[in-house]
Structures are given as C-alpha cells and as structure tokens.
Symmetry: C2
Subunit: 328 residues, 2 copies
C-alpha cells in the first residue's frame, strides 16, 4: 500500500466539477472542507444537503469521508474523500447535544471561535482574551467523547493554550503558519506551537497569502524553509498542510466570512479597504493541481522521502485514525 | 449463531431505565421506536438528542441500532438495539434533502402519513384519499435510494396501494392487524396485505387494544389464530411483530399523537369521549417481559420452530438486512 497520501486539511472553494477534477489531477486523496462560517444548525444542515447533492452528481470524483479508512478507500477508487468542518461553533447554537448530532452527520472539525468571541472561547481579533468559557469546557469534553476535533485556527492566544490544556485528546490548528516566519494576527506563537505538539496536536500550514511572508509574492523556497523550521520546532510528525484555498470565490464571500450577521459595518479582517477581496494565490500554488510543486519543493529543500510523505498527508492520516472515532 | 432473534418493530413508551431493563428481561434484541409524531426537523433532532442521552446513561442496556448487524451485536453483548422511526413525515418538512440527512442520523422508518393528509399521501382518517402526491413520489424514490423504509401503518387504502406500487423496494406496515380479524379503521384489507407481501413487504402485528378483536380482552389464542391466518394470506416470511406498546405514557401523550397542532378541538382517534386515554393492554402482553408468552402461544397453536422464529424476529432481521442500506 502506498504510504504517500496527499491530504489538504482546509479548503473553502466555490465548489464545482472543475475543482473536483483538479483534486483528482493533483492526486489529492482527502480534503477537509469548511461547510459553514456563521450559519446556525438548520442552515448548516442545508449546506450538508448541498454536499450530498455534489456526492450524488459527481460519484466518480468525490465522496463523503467520515473515518481514516475513507482516505485509503479514496486512493483505491481514484476519488477524493471530503471531510466536513465548521469555522465557528454557531451550528451547535447553545445546545451541547448538537455536538454528537453534528458528529453523526459526519462533521469532524469545529473551530471554537472564528475571529470574534463565541459562546466557547475568544477569537484572535478581540481586544481581550479571557480564555475558554464555562460552556467551552463542557463542549471540549463532549467533542473529545464523540470524536469531533477542536480546531483553534482563528482563536486568540490564551484561549488556544487553554483548549490545548483542557482537551484530553490532541487538537488541531488546521490552517495557520508560525508567527516567527510571518507575524500576522492569524499566525501562531512558538509557545502555542510547542504546546500543541506536546499534546500530539497538528498544525496545517496555510497557503493563504495573508498568512505568507511576502504575501502573494512568497516564494516556494521561503515556504519550504518555513516548513523545515516549523518541523524543527514542533517535530515533523505534527506538521501537515491546510492550504485555506478559497478558489473561485466571489469577494462577497470573504465579506460573509468576516462580517456574518454580527455587524452592520464592513470589517476587513486580514485585508484592508484597498485590498478587501481575496488576494491572488502564489503562482506555485494556484489550485489543487499544484500539490506536486510543494512536494517537489520539499524534496528540493532536503526533506527525505518519509518526512516529505509525513507532511504531505501521512501525519493527517494518522491524526484522523486516532481522533475521529469516539473515545474508548 | 442463534437464529431466534426477538424484534419488536414498533414501540412508543415513556422511556425509562425500568423499560430498558424489561427489554433485557424479555430478551428483546431490537426495538424500532417512534421518535416523533408531528415534530418539525429541529424538534426531531432534539428527540435524537434525548435518545443520545439515554444511550450515554444506559450503555449496558441499549445502543443506537443502524444496520442489521447491530441486531447481532445486541445479542452478542446482551443489549437491545434501538432503531429510530417517524410516524409522520413532518421532520422532512418540505425539503427532500432532509430524507438523506435523516438517514445519516440513523432514522430507518418513516410513515408517509399519520392519520391526516400529509404533503406526501393520505391518512386513514381522511374522507377522501387521492393517493400518493407529486412530492410523495419524489420522496419515495429518495427513500428508496438512501435506505429509509416507507411505512404506511396509518395511511389510507389507495395511498397505501400506491406506495407499494411506486416503491422500488419493499415497504412496511410496521404496526397494524388484518381487517378480516378486526375491522378497525387502522387495520388493513386483504388487498393491501397481499399487495404488500407480493413486493416482499412486511406487516408488524399490533398488540394495541384498539387493533385487537375484543380489545383489551383479546385472548392469546385468538391473537395466535390471527397470526396463523395472516401467514396463510401473506406468507409467513412477511409477518412479524410491531406491538405499538405505549407503556407508561400519560394520556396527554395520546392527545398529542391525535391532535398535534392541526386542530384546536379534541380528536379521539381510535378512542372515544368515554375512552379517551390509552386502553389497558391484554394481560398476556403488558410489557417487554411478555414476548415469551407470544412465542409460547405460537408454538402452542402449532407453529414449528422455524416459523415461530421467523415471526418473532428473523423476518424483520432479513428485512433490515436488505432495506436499511443505500440502493446499489
């Protein structure tokens, strides 16, 4: 059996047959897709209904991935397994029982926050970060029980350290980079990265230009050097990819991501008034067909076969194996 | 492996540890439980949340059954597998995409109607029965695709014949008796029963007094004679149990079942003003501990081992094996 699976642990594209074909062209065995930002439970279910219709329309390209075995099934059947995740806990509303319901529906990652304070924890754009809330502690315990992974990609520092500490199972930062490379608000401190790794957690490295040194002009060499430095800091077994690819999305979508229903004003998030939309991707990673560029870049940089395979997918596969099933 | 599983294909009790223990005492391997009558999607999800909390509190007695294998697992682990069903299609609202969502949540039976006209078909208390509707045809096809069984227990004659005809997979009448034995509005004509059996469908025989000859005073001998006569009519392989046990329910619940939110008046359904509540069960079938009485009664009546095992559970198990999985 092949030991070099390709897994991208975060995308949020304007889904189409074209993109699903590109996943196949790029030999991507599994993708964790964001299905909601600010949606409530019923709106989230409508998003799963949309995905079910994609699965029905494109059964030769994609299927709903639920467990680690599905990544292997994807490889065997030349398809891409699609795993669901939330970037906000809004779909569980104020109801802890919905955690298990969401897991039953195949959801495998949930951010405790997007950019703002949630019922559970604090987002990275808040001025104050009081840490994981009372309900947050209960929900982490329930997520641990059922096998829904805590994702702190958009959360603030203290809340993230709290979540790592409180969670009895490893957590994930599915899409972010180290702040030591590029000090963006969304990138993570060495303290967070070391604490994450110490508990067996995973970091998915992002290709989203706002998270990259030199933005859209970031070079593949600079990215691969960062991967090597991050592996030195965290251990190579705790590092994977989470590209944050937002392909073909109209700029109205980034506005929904940033503004939701929480303000009547415009919030530019990581962008700015002059650069409000989705930034152009680096030329060496424009879509799913370019995963080979990253793999080649890592090898060029000096990663051996095993470490390269670990970063490209095996680490996420190992993480899926341990963390998507209910607690024993 | 034992070939005499006990399956009750319809109960709606006021669930408690006492009842789950009685299921074990009665060696009941699987029960199809009604989780909603008139609830909408979100209210239905809240009912599953309640069941999840029972599964968490009583893991040594019950668990959520999803496929036929779970009946065998139940036997091996000395527990009862609980299968979910709806007595009304209200949880799918007007949204066909919710059929697959409900199947993902573990729902395995859905009545196209309760007593009234629904969006899909006609209930047995309507004056007119125009048959399966436009949406009903679409929903039956979708239920066939995903493996959600059409149940016509409370439906009117023409709608039931339509559903049997339209469905590409066998359907079920989970809880009713033949009208030839007791001509109640809820009991079924020979024409329906023969059409049901001709397509491989199942009839779950009811122990609910309003469906029994002589009501609460029905004798075990009379019941067993009816089972034999029904097996002669339909083939013994198409007959099982669906007791309709409504144990420990307050009479307010039968009012919700009958009245829902569709009228401001009182509707007595199968009861009457003088007999509005739940009628007392026959002394030989008061709760789950009494399944042995039925088994003994059938043997006493002359059923051989194989036919007795077929009626007590094997027929439902075979039906689960074929009909809970997606269409190939």
């Amino acid at each position: 059996m092949s030991l070099n699976y390709r897994i991208d642990n975060l995308q949020y594209a304007n889904w189409s047959e074209k993109i699903f074909k590109q996943m196949r062209d790029g030999k991507v065995d599994a993708v964790h897709v964001t299905i909601v930002y600010h949606e409530n439970f019923r709106e989230m279910v409508a998003e799963i209904e949309k995905w079910n219709s994609y699965f029905e329309r494109f059964p030769k390209l994609i299927f709903h991935g639920k467990y680690a075995e599905d990544v292997k099934l994807a490889r065997e059947t030349d398809r891409t397994a699609i795993f669901f995740g939330f970037q906000n806990p809004s779909p569980i509303e104020d109801d802890i029982g919905l955690v298990e319901i969401c897991h039953s529906l195949g959801v495998r990652f949930m951010q405790l926050t997007y950019n703002n304070q949630s019922l559970l924890a604090t987002g990275c754009y808040e001025a104050e970060d009081p840490g994981v809330t009372r309900m947050g502690r209960e929900v982490i315990e329930e997520m641990n029980r059922v096998g829904l992974v805590v994702d702190m990609s958009h959360s603030a520092e203290r809340s993230t350290l709290d979540a790592i500490d409180i969670s009895s199972r490893p957590i994930a930062i599915t899409h972010a980079n180290p702040a030591f490379w590029h000090p963006a608000k969304r990138n993570k401190s060495n303290e967070v990265l070391k604490a994450l790794a110490a508990k067996g957690g995973m970091l998915g490295l992002s290709l989203y230009p706002h998270h990259l040194k030199d933005g859209s002009d970031c070079t593949l060499e600079s990215f691969c050097q960062m991967v090597a430095d991050t592996a030195d800091l965290m251990g190579v077994e705790n590092v994977g990819l989470g590209s944050d690819l937002c392909q073909d999305q109209p700029d109205s979508v980034v506005e929904w991501m940033r503004v939701g229903r929480w303000t009547k004003k415009i919030d530019y998030g990581e962008g700015s008034k002059d650069n409000a939309g989705f930034p152009p991707m680096p030329t060496w990673f424009e879509d799913n067909r370019h995963f080979g560029n990253i793999e080649a870049g890592l090898k060029q940089h000096g990663f051996n076969e095993a470490d390269c395979a670990a970063v490209m997918g095996m680490n996420w596969l190992n993480f899926y194996e341990k963390n998507f099933v209910p607690e024993k």
